[in-house]
Structures are given as structure tokens and as C-alpha cells.
């Protein structure tokens, strides 16, 4: 891979890929039930025409163009075409409601928007008066848009066709585009990624071309990715994970990016494509495992016992075999049998048969969950990163995998722990600035050029790997001084399949209390099995038997916490099962599905008050936002359960 030096922008990489791997598939998309492919040469051809078309519409260097949609080839081609004319693509979360969209588009001063379909166009048209700079909305799918006022709307295909016609009419135009690509500089802004806003409103992270490519080159080498790899692009376009893993690494390594048919078909598409490189947040792995376990419960007794037996074998030897450590011959033989009978078929069903490297990041992954996938022979690794770093800060090298650490610093990344316990880093891919927000930029950078992550962590003494505890500002203390790390507790709770989401409170309080969301998939299956009738999520969540089940889970976690000296005091004393699922549309989660704790505390203030005045019940009334943006109200009376605490084992107590 001869990246670096002169290849310092993505369009230049595109030229190289078209020359070097011309006939290799660059993009795939399932349309009308058939996988369509575009080679690198074809992609270059389309991008060139598209770029000419965009130029003719008035897109110039340093203009911003927003991209709102799911993982469709046209959306990725828009990014490439925009970068070709040295304009700046700004991908936006496609499930953002109109107000959020309006904020980002307004803040980025976009003149152009590429929208996927009617849904996105409708949202854009509803906020168009707040966007004075907006000149043109490009759209991909014309369904339902026939009767719209087309003053503002242009179909992407028409733009490409117009560009093609212009290229055909003027022979020198193609050379001009190539010359424009070659004039591109590494310091050009490559993309602005808006953070999901876990902590307040979202910020536009400005990334430069050279830094993006340097970072991606390092990790492509680290994981030995080549043009023969395949990845499935199914994560939100606006998330650094997708932009990095699929777009940036795809162009650097020249591998193929496959776009799923639709949001619901990802699981099937995964099986059909059989990616060799896979990236998913822990949540996806968790859902996969939950679904798998539910289906195993429904399987015949023989199959079930076989599955459980070999799973035990896998847990015993799998990790050691994957890491290349010595394993007794009998263990190898057993694992081999299990591999044929269980692990390989299982991976095939999950679409993970061909995966060489899989990553998970974004949140802590449950040790059991992590161990499960590694045990069945999936090379799953963790990384720690953030948008400001263009993803990688640390990642686990093969053979040095621990469930509770996120690995040593990635190649060419320097990590240090500040006195406050905050993790800080300096990396090749680090961001240039926050768009139009020098104050925030200054706040985030240290004087000597390090970026503050806002996460508290430390280097593990045994392994030298980084361990992340929580967001630095979230770590607090109970009234009696016990350390309270909410994320730590919530993650422990979420490892139970029945619990989908948990929010814990305790900073400055007497004890720890938790709000729980049950996992509808797991609990409804359990309800069906036990003949429990329910009409809605709300009804199921209020069922006393469900409460009992969750109570059992939490008691179990409390018991295991009691064995940890530092955390023993932070056992959950009271909990409630919420009447609705926490939703990003209601602002309770970020678009990347992380809990916004402060917001939840405000919203359920009545419930929080009830937690600490020993009430047995609490009335809550919350506003909910439907998918189409309308609002409604939901009221409920929730029961609060008290839990006994597990005493610390005597010897530990003595030691303490």
C-alpha cells in the first residue's frame, strides 16, 4: 500500500484505485432483490460526471453540502463528488427530526443538500425558511415527489446525466476535473462530522483530508486490510464509525463497501455479503446474541443440549485457540467437533463466517458478550475512539485481547492521563477545530496540542492497556463518599438480556436508584412462554412478574458488586421499570443511542423525587414525540421496588 506522500485527498485515492484496481468492485447495493456492483473505474466515471453536474449547479470550493440519508451508493457518491470539487460534505443523521436537522444545516451554512427520499425532503421543506443559504435539494428516490414544487428540487440522476452531457460536449472537461483533483491539498477540509450531542448540542468536527488519510492508513496496515476485503456499510452515515471504517478505509485500502437493501434487511444482507471486516457497536452484538438465545430456547432438546455443551467447550478453549496459546489436544479435538457442529453454522447464520477482523466500540461491551463471540472463533476486538480523533485512540492488537480494557494506543497515537484522571491524546487523525466555535475548540485542546476526551480512565498495570471508567464528569460520589460510576453500574445491568437500558442515579444522594427499560424482544418471548398476556410495552413493563424477574437480576448484580471493594457501596437499593422505552426522538438518547442522563433526570424529576422520599409509587407524565414529529402525552403510575443489599463477605469487610 503506497499511501501517503502525494495521495493526500480522497479524490486522489479514487484516481489511484480506478487505475490500480479498476475492475475490483468498489460499491455494492442490493436493489430489486439483486446485488448490483460498481467497479472502481465505474465509480470514478460516475463521480466525475456528478462533480461536473454539481459544479454546473453552482457548487464551489469550500461550499458545504449536507447529506441526509441511509447507506445508499448515491449518498457515498455525493461525498466523493463534493470532495472532487473541493466542497465540504456534511453528513447528517437521517433519523434526526426536522429541528435537529435545521440546527445542523443552519450551523454549517449549507447551500446544497443531498436527500435520500421523500421523508427527508419533507423534513427539509418544513424548515427551509430557516435556511437562507439553501439553494438546491438533491434527491435520490423520486417516489412520492412527483407533485412537489420542483424549483428547489433536483434529482441526483439528472445532475449526473447533465454532467455526462457536459463531458461529452467538451472534450477538455474531463482533464479539467482531473487537474482539479490534483490541485487538491491535504489541508483541505475533508468532511465536517457533527457529534451526536451526548453532552449538549452537537458540534461540527472539522477534519482535514491528509489527517483522515494518515489515520486510516495506519489502521489499514494495523489490520492488514486489502482491496480484497468486503465491508457492509449499515451504520449511520453521519457517525464517525461509518465514515472511517467504510468510506475512509475503503478508499485507502481499495476494498468493497456493500450497502444493504434497507434498514430491516441488514441481518440478511450480512449473510449474503459475508463481509471480511465488520464493525458494530456492542448493542448490535447484544441484539444478535439475544435473538440467537431466544431461538435456541425454541429448538429441539437434542440441539439445545448440544448447543449448550459445545458452548461450554468454547468458553473453556476458544479464547486460547484464537490467541494461539497452548491448548491440550483433547480440548482441540472437542473444539474442532464443536466448530463443525455448532460454531461455524452459527457464524454462518449470523453472517460472520468470513470475518477476519471485527471491532466493537462506542460503549463498554459486557465481558460475557465479548467472551461469547471470541469463544466461537470470531476475532472480535475493542477500540476506543471519538470523532475528534477521527476514530482510533486505542485498539487491541491480535493476541492481546482483554474484555475490560480497550487496548494500547493505536499506531502513531500518543495517549496520556491528566492529573484529573482524564484521558488525553495526540493522533494523526485529530480534528482541526470545531466548526465556527473557537471557544469550544480552545476548551478541548490543551496548550501543548493534546485533545481532551472527557473520559476518565487509567492504564492497567498488568497489561499496559487503557481502561475507561466513565465520562469524567459523570463519575460522582454518594453522600457517604462511596465512588459512584453510573455507566459502570448501567453496563453491568445491561448485560442481563431482560434489561435493555438502565439509568442510575446516586451522585450526592444517600443511595443508588435505577430506572430500567426491559428488552421487549427477550421479555415478550418469556411472557409468551409463561402465558402472560399483555397488550403493550407499558402493560408488560408494569407486570409484577416482570418486576420480580428484574429484581432477581439486580439482586444478582448487587451480590457481585459486594465482592468488589471499591464498588460495594454503590449497590442499587431502589428501582423502577419505566413505562416507555427511552427514545432518541424524545431526546432521552442520543442518535447513537446513548443515554443522556441529565436530560432523563429532568424529565423524570417526579420519579427521582419519589426515589429519595421513600414513596412506593410515583406518577409520571411525559411528552412523547411520534416519528412524524407530532407530540402526545403518556401518563403512568409506576411502582418503586426496594431491594435488600448484599453484605460484603466477612473477610473483605475485615480487610476493609
Amino acid at each position: 500500500m503506497d499511501v501517503g506522500g502525494s495521495l493526500d485527498t480522497f479524490p486522489k485515492l479514487l484516481l489511484r484505485n480506478a487505475a490500480q484496481f479498476g475492475n475490483h468492485a468498489a460499491l455494492r447495493h442490493k436493489h430489486l432483490g439483486i446485488w448490483q456492483s460498481w467497479s472502481w473505474a465505474q465509480v470514478l466515471d460516475i463521480v466525475r460526471a456528478y462533480a461536473v453536474g454539481l459544479q454546473r449547479l453552482g457548487l464551489k470550493q469550500n461550499d458545504t453540502i449536507a447529506i441526509v440519508g441511509s447507506n445508499r451508493p448515491k449518498m457515498y457518491l455525493t461525498v466523493m463528488a463534493a470532495q472532487t470539487v473541493r466542497a465540504i460534505p456534511v453528513p447528517v443523521y437521517s433519523d434526526a427530526v426536522a429541528d435537529e436537522l435545521s440546527y445542523v444545516l443552519g450551523h454549517a451554512d449549507v447551500q446544497f443538500v443531498a436527500a435520500q427520499d421523500q421523508e427527508q425532503v419533507d423534513k427539509l421543506l418544513s424548515v427551509v425558511e430557516h435556511l437562507p443559504h439553501l439553494k438546491t435539494i438533491l434527491y435520490d428516490e423520486d417516489r412520492g415527489l412527483r407533485d412537489y414544487d420542483h424549483n428547489l428540487l433536483t434529482k441526483i440522476d439528472d445532475v449526473i446525466a447533465d454532467g455526462r452531457a457536459a463531458l461529452a460536449a467538451d472534450n477538455s472537461l474531463a482533464a479539467k476535473i482531473t487537474a482539479m483533483i490534483e490541485r487538491g491539498e491535504g489541508s483541505d477540509t475533508s468532511v465536517i462530522l457533527y457529534t451526536s450531542g451526548t453532552t449538549g448540542s452537537s458540534k461540527g468536527v472539522v477534519l482535514s483530508a491528509k489527517r483522515c488519510i494518515d489515520a486510516a492508513t495506519d489502521t489499514v496496515r494495523f489490520d492488514k486490510l486489502t482491496e480484497n476485503d468486503v465491508a457492509l456499510a449499515y451504520l449511520p452515515l453521519a457517525w464517525v464509525g461509518d465514515h472511517y471504517m467504510n468510506y475512509a478505509q475503503g478508499l485507502v485500502a481499495g476494498f468493497c463497501m456493500a450497502c444493504p437493501e434497507g434498514r430491516e434487511t441488514v441481518q440478511q444482507d450480512l449473510r449474503e455479503i459475508g463481509p471480511s471486516f465488520y464493525f458494530a457497536p456492542p448493542r448490535v452484538f447484544e441484539t444478535m446474541l439475544t435473538r440467537l438465545m431466544i431461538r435456541m430456547e425454541d429448538a429441539a432438546a437434542i440441539k439445545r443440549s448440544m448447543f449448550h455443551y459445545f458452548l461450554k467447550v468454547a468458553r473453556k478453549y476458544g479464547e486460547a485457540i484464537l490467541a494461539g496459546k497452548p491448548v491440550p489436544t483433547s480440548g482441540r479435538i472437542l473444539y474442532g467437533i464443536g466448530s463443525t457442529l455448532v460454531y461455524e453454522p452459527l457464524k454462518n447464520v449470523l453472517g460472520l463466517s468470513r470475518v477476519r477482523v471485527a471491532y466493537t466500540a462506542g460503549e463498554a461491551i459486557g465481558p460475557d458478550l465479548f467472551a461469547f463471540y471470541r469463544a466461537i472463533g470470531l476475532n472480535l476486538k475493542q477500540l476506543y475512539g471519538q470523532t475528534e480523533a477521527f476514530l482510533y485512540v486505542t485498539c487491541q492488537p491480535d493476541g492481546e485481547i482483554f474484555a475490560d480494557t480497550v487496548g494500547p494506543p493505536a499506531p502513531n497515537v500518543v495517549v496520556r492521563i491528566a492529573e484529573s484522571g482524564e484521558v488525553q491524546f495526540k493522533s494523526p487523525g485529530m480534528f482541526v477545530q470545531y466548526y465556527k466555535d473557537p471557544a469550544k475548540t480552545a476548551e478541548t485542546m490543551t496548550l501543548d496540542g493534546y485533545v481532551k476526551t472527557g473520559d476518565a480512565g487509567f492504564f492497567d498495570e498488568k497489561t499496559g492497556h487503557l481502561k475507561i471508567i466513565d465520562r469524567a464528569r459523570d463519575v460522582g460520589r454518594l453522600k457517604d463518599g462511596t465512588l459512584f460510576a453510573p455507566k459502570y453500574l448501567e453496563n453491568r445491568l445491561k448485560f442481563y438480556p431482560n434489561i435493555k437500558e438502565a439509568v442510575t442515579f446516586g451522585d450526592g444522594r444517600d443511595c443508588v436508584c435505577a430506572m430500567i427499560n426491559i428488552d421487549l424482544m427477550a421479555v415478550s418471548n418469556w411472557a409468551e412462554r409463561n402465558n402472560i398476556a399483555y397488550g403493550s410495552y407499558q402493560e408488560l413493563a408494569a407486570n409484577p412478574l416482570v418486576y420480580e424477574m428484574v429484581e432477581k437480576n439486580i439482586t444478582e448484580m448487587n451480590a457481585s458488586l459486594a465482592e468488589e471493594k471499591v464498588m460495594a457501596g454503590a449497590q442499587v437499593r431502589r428501582f423502577v421499570i419505566l413505562h416507555k422505552e427511552l427514545e432518541a426522538d424524545d431526546g432521552e438518547l442520543t442518535r447513537t443511542q446513548k443515554v443522556r442522563r441529565g436530560f432523563v433526570a429532568d424529565r423524570y424529576a417526579a420519579l427521582l423525587a419519589a426515589f429519595y422520599n421513600d414513596a412506593k409509587e410515583a406518577d409520571v407524565c411525559t411528552e412523547v414525540t411520534f416519528e412524524d414529529g407530532r407530540k402526545g402525552r403518556m401518563t403512568a403510575r409506576l411502582k418503586i421496588y426496594d431491594l435488600p443489599t448484599t453484605q460484603m463477605p466477612a473477610d473483605l469487610e475485615k480487610a476493609a
Partner: protein, 261 residues
């Protein structure tokens, strides 16, 4: 209102009466459906709405009166002739092949369009193969249109009710009908499913230019979707006009709410 141009009329029902023994299901009902419109048929339970649809697609034969479809008047017709003529329908209680996948169910809707004989189809070769590819392409377009890609290969018995309804609509669409009869397309659906289905009905009308006649109980849906509404009560037409006109009609209000005798 559009001008009552005779050429515009796709289907005209004139003085149709239908009785089962002594029960008069329909009495002298007349109305027309214009090309490209969404026409709703409403009425209280037992008003004769489904009977009316059954008469239109030839499942019931009226004792009196005539039906003119695309300028041709007929008194006696078999359901398959109606299908061949371009009338498709969905049913009040979902009528799908439960054990077959969504894809196969929708493909079944194209049976009447298949030209190759059994011999070639069995060999799946030559013209039969080309034909099948063409049919599959059409079916896939419908699957994309109805956004049911994820359930393409799932047996319909395993699908939730709302999706089954959508598959049924897909099968009706597979016939490429000129007139689509929908019998309570939204019965038993929750709000979100209703909104989705409404969207699809509007899109079918808009994109394929299909004329639609629908029976529906949800008044909000009827008033939003339809261009004109016919109201039946005890087999008699009691009102006919735009949603607003119908809403104001005293007879309709009486039929729905009852009157003190």
C-alpha cells in the same frame, strides 16, 4: 368538482339490486367511479358494502341492473374475467396462502399475466425463463414500493397482521389493475400502521394512476383519502358526493347515529 364527463367514467353501476332469499342486500344502487379517483364506499355494518364490491368484481351476480366497466356493459361475469379486465381486490379477512412466502404470494398475483404453457414452465427454459425474470422484476418493484424487502422470503403466516395486509395489497398490485377494490384495508390496524397504509394507497393512486374503490370504517381516513364518497344503508344509497358534502348530509348522520322514532 371535476366536470361529469362521460369518457371520464371507468365504472358505472346502474340500478343494481341483489337479494339473498328474502334479504335485500342492495336495492337500486347507482353510482360511478371516475378514472384516477379514490372512491370510498361507507355505511354502517350490514349496509351492503362488501356485497357491492362482490358485484363489481363478478363474485355475485346482480338480479337487476347493469355494470359498465371501461365502456362495456355486462350483466353476467365470472371473477376471473373481472381480473383479466383489470379489476383487482383485497379482502376484509386476509386471504393469502399462509404457508407461502410474501414473494410467492405476490407472484401468484401475476398468474393471469403468464403466457407460457405448462410445458415450458416445467422446463423453466427459453421463453419461460425470460418471462419469469420479467415477472420477478415486476414483483420486486412492488416489494420495493411497499417496503417489505425484509420479509420477502418469510411465510406470511408468521407475519404480523399489518404486514399481511400489505402483502395482500402487493398481490393485488401485481395484477397491474386499472381498478383496485380494497375491502377495509385498515381494519384492525394501529395508528401507525394506518398511516403507513394510507400513504401506500395515496402512492398507488399517484404513481401508478390506479383508480381505487375502498370500503373503510375509519372516518378520518376516508375523509382524508377519498375524492368522493358513496354512503349505503340497508342496501340503499343514501348519499353520494365529496367528503364534505357527505359529512353534512342529515341522512348519513342519522344512519350512523340512529334517530329517535
Amino acid at each position: 368538482m371535476r366536470s361529469p364527463d362521460v369518457d371520464d367514467v371507468l365504472l358505472r353501476v346502474e340500478d343494481v339490486s341483489l337479494a339473498f332469499g328474502g334479504v335485500k342486500a342492495l336495492t337500486d344502487v347507482s353510482f360511478d367511479i371516475r378514472k384516477g379517483e379514490i372512491r370510498a364506499i361507507i355505511g354502517p355494518n350490514g349496509a351492503g358494502k362488501t356485497s357491492m364490491l362482490n358485484v363489481v368484481n363478478g363474485f355475485y351476480h346482480p338480479h337487476q341492473g347493469s355494470i359498465t366497466f371501461k365502456g362495456k356493459t355486462r350483466t353476467w361475469m365470472q371473477p376471473y374475467e373481472a381480473s383479466r379486465g383489470g379489476i383487482a381486490r383485497t379482502f376484509q379477512n386476509v386471504a393469502l396462502f399462509k404457508g407461502m412466502s410474501a414473494l410467492d404470494n405476490i407472484t401468484a398475483g401475476r398468474t393471469l399475466k403468464m403466457r407460457c404453457g405448462m410445458f415450458w414452465q416445467a422446463l423453466r427454459f427459453g421463453p419461460a425463463q425470460r418471462e419469469e425474470i420479467e415477472h420477478r422484476r415486476r414483483v420486486e418493484e412492488i416489494i420495493e414500493f411497499l417496503e417489505i424487502e425484509a420479509i420477502r422470503k418469510v411465510p406470511v403466516a408468521r407475519l404480523p397482521y399489518g404486514l399481511q395486509k400489505r402483502v395482500e395489497l402487493g398481490r393485488a398490485l401485481a395484477m397491474e389493475p386499472e381498478l383496485l377494490l380494497l375491502d377495509e384495508p385498515m381494519a384492525g390496524m394501529n395508528l401507525e400502521e394506518k398511516e403507513d397504509m394510507s400513504r401506500f394507497i395515496i402512492d398507488v393512486n399517484d404513481q401508478y394512476g390506479t383508480t381505487i374503490a375502498l370500503i373503510e370504517h375509519d372516518m378520518a381516513v376516508v375523509m382524508d383519502l377519498s375524492d368522493r364518497v358513496v354512503v349505503l344503508d340497508h342496501g340503499i344509497k343514501i348519499a353520494d358526493g365529496s367528503p364534505d358534502e357527505v359529512k353534512r348530509s342529515q341522512m348519513v348522520i342519522d344512519a350512523y347515529l340512529g334517530v329517535a322514532h
